[in-house]
């Protein structure tokens, strides 16, 4: 390993710190250089979330009310992203249109995480028949192409925000269950867990005190990566017309409705699609940064 490469490993940072005391400023600079993209991703994602929340204050236009005289205007200083077929301001609609996608994306990941953690912990901690049964069930769910499973569930339950969340969450459960199980299995063999058993600590206490805290870092990494997937799925479902109902703005739906105008007004499907891409991209960068930070074997890549 060359010296240049050693430099970004933590070892050398602590070694140099003997001669140069690491001030908070210097530490922040080092962190910033290493996680620049993750940081940018984080800032962008935060802006997207804030933008969708504070949409009414950020734009003077109404996202739903039609204004036929000003239909299909090209992007300008007044209408940043132009206007759509019904004369509604596209920028406003992009701001509001993030709401359903972010809501379904985030909630479905949290729901899948919760259920997956339950299943994974039960399987890994108990082992035996329960483990076999649960993991075979997860295998079966994984033998569906994930997006197809989500489409199937929405098709059966009907469209709507809650159903989209349930559909995406359900199809994401196996990912978390498998990860949690693999972590629990290694942790259960640790000496401190055996010791806790020996002094008569209850199973629940062991899980809460010794197993759960050790699960958090890898789970955060997985959850971030999965959030990117969940947002993509949510936008795909609404693109297919299986998300929110038409007058309401939604990125996927806006792309599918703007699709017809590809010859005359490409900016209509362009901006909501760009919003999806940049949001997913920012989450992916956050995920990469977290993974690099939390997984020491990847530090020098």
């Amino acid at each position: 390993m060359s010296v240049a490469k050693l430099k970004d490993s933590n070892h050398l940072v602590t070694a140099t710190s003997l001669s140069k005391r690491p001030t908070l400023g210097r530490r922040l600079t080092a962190l910033r250089q290493k996680y620049e993209l993750a940081l940018l991703g984080g800032i962008f994602f935060a802006l997207v979330v804030l933008g969708t929340i504070f949409a009414p204050w950020l734009s003077p236009y109404d996202p739903i009310k039609q204004d036929i005289p000003s239909r299909l205007l090209t992007p300008s200083a007044i209408h940043w992203f132009g206007t759509d077929e019904s004369g509604r301001d596209n920028f406003t609609r992009v701001l509001y249109g993030g709401r359903p996608i972010l809501t379904t994306g985030i909630s479905s990941v949290l729901l899948a995480l919760l259920i997956g953690m339950g299943i994974g912990t039960a399987a890994g901690y108990r082992g035996g028949l329960l483990d076999d049964l649960l993991m075979r069930a997860m295998d079966i769910m994984l033998s569906f192409p994930t997006i197809l499973l989500a489409i199937l569930i929405v098709a059966s339950l009907g469209t709507g925000l809650i159903n989209t969340i349930l559909a995406i969450a359900f199809s994401l459960i196996p990912t978390f269950a498998r990860l949690v199980r693999s972590i629990v299995i290694t942790l259960v063999r640790e000496q401190y867990v055996t010791a806790a058993h020996a002094v008569g600590t209850s199973d629940w206490q062991i899980i809460a005190k010794h197993i759960f805290p050790n699960m958090i870092p890898p789970i955060i990494v997985q959850a971030t990566a999965t959030l990117a997937i969940a947002i993509s799925y949510s936008s795909a479902l609404s693109f297919l017309g299986l998300g929110v109902e038409p007058p309401r703005p939604d990125w996927g739906l806006m792309v599918s409705q703007g699709q017809r105008l590809i010859f005359d007004a490409i900016y209509i499907p362009f901006f909501p699609g760009l919003a999806i891409t940049l949001t997913v991209l920012s989450v992916n960068y956050i995920g990469d940064g977290l993974r690099d930070h939390l997984d020491p074997t990847l530090r020098n890549r």
Binding site: R136, D139, I140, M141, S143, F144, P145, T146, I147, L148, I151, L152, I153, A155, S156, L157, G158, A228, S232, S235, A236, F239, L240, G241, L242, G252, V255, S256, Q259, I262, F263, I266, P269, F270, G273, L274, I276, T277, L278, V280, L281, N284, Y285, D288, R301
Partner: protein, 333 residues
């Protein structure tokens, strides 16, 4: 050998479980599928008759039994909207989707492995950053959006490719297997083949290039893993050429897990094909599935999903078995 046998024994069990899950999800909703649409067109007597005909008056476990019985005989049911047997519809609609997914897979494998190798051998240089940016963009861009952008650039502006469809208007094509590539090659129908490839390239690129991102990342990390191995250091010490080391020593070892993942990714590609088809008016399963969903034709939804899932399970099995055949390290274990 033992591994392959175990997998083969498991296959029917997995297929049964997949079928049961599909059945269960489709019948999640209380009430029967008929009540939702048919009440508008049919009177009570007709409704009752159709209900008996489709066995919807029976308890759920009976319907399930009937469903499984039919399935074993290769009968996926009848489309509730058109009355056509699903096997016949699928025979027509499945080949276009598979053509598209396979072409996309080819593109994503070549481009992805290429980008991954470049990235791992030029670590921390601009080429590496370029390849990594391409990879993460591929993971982030939605298929349907890149499809629209591609049509806008290559079909509307540059006029290189047609806007949509599978064959040009007026192209003489006589379907036998419904796989255009096979049919045209067998009969030597070159105009149809050219028209087909011209229609295929853009949707295949839209899916292939975006999913190449995933392949590139996997290849990069597999390559970096292998490049640290002792035998690579030995090869370097021996004074072997860089290129020989990269391709004959590193890539050959790094590529196997990537190929397996690519097999698993075929499901994602099928999903991608189903969605991208809609943008390109590609006459495959995507259109069929979406129409079935919008018409609440549950039999068709169930049949289509089941078919794709079965295809995916079998495909995975083949990939796994091939993996074991190809990698001698696993064969001995």
């Amino acid at each position: 050998m033992r591994y392959i046998l175990t997998r083969l024994i498991w296959l029917p069990i997995v297929l049964w479980a997949v079928a049961s899950l599909t059945f269960l999800v489709v019948h999640l909703v209380p009430g029967d599928p008929l009540s939702q649409v048919a009440t508008l067109v049919l009177d009570q007597a007709q409704l009752d008759r159709t209900r008996v005909e489709w066995g919807l008056d029976q308890p759920l476990w009976r319907q399930y039994g009937r469903f499984l019985g039919n399935l074993v005989r290769g009968d996926l049911g009848v489309s509730m909207a058109s009355g056509v047997p699903l096997t016949r519809l699928l025979y027509e609609k499945m080949p276009p989707t598979i053509e598209l997914a396979l072409m996309a897979m080819l593109i994503s494998t070549i481009v992805g492995i290429g980008a991954g190798v470049i990235s791992s051998t030029t670590r921390h240089k601009w080429l590496d950053y370029g390849a990594r940016t391409f990879a993460i963009l591929g993971l982030s861009i939605p298929w349907f959006w890149i499809a629209i952008l591609f049509i806008f650039v290559f079909s509307v502006k540059l006029k290189w490719t047609p806007v949509g469809g599978r064959l040009g208007v007026g192209v003489d094509y006589d379907p036998v297997t419904n796989f255009v590539l096979i049919d045209t090659l067998m009969t030597g129908n070159w105009p149809a083949l050219l028209s087909f490839l011209n229609h295929l390239i853009l949707p295949a690129l839209a899916i292939g290039l975006t999913s190449a991102g995933f392949v590139a990342r996997m290849t990069r990390s597999a390559m970096l893993e292998v490049l640290r191995a002792d035998y690579i250091r030995s090869a370097r010490a021996k004074g072997l050429h860089r290129r020989t080391i990269t391709f004959s020593h590193a890539l050959r070892n790094a590529i196997l897990p990537v190929i397996t993942l690519q097999g698993l990714q075929f499901g994602t590609l099928l999903g991608g094909a189903v969605i991208t088809e809609l943008v390109f008016a590609w006459p495959g399963l995507g259109r069929m599935l979406l129409d079935a969903i919008l018409r609440r034709d549950y039999a068709s939804v169930q049949g289509t999903v089941l078919f794709v899932a079965f295809f995916y399970v079998v495909m995975n099995l083949i990939v796994d078995v091939l993996y074991h055949v190809v990698d001698p390290r696993l064969r001995e274990a």
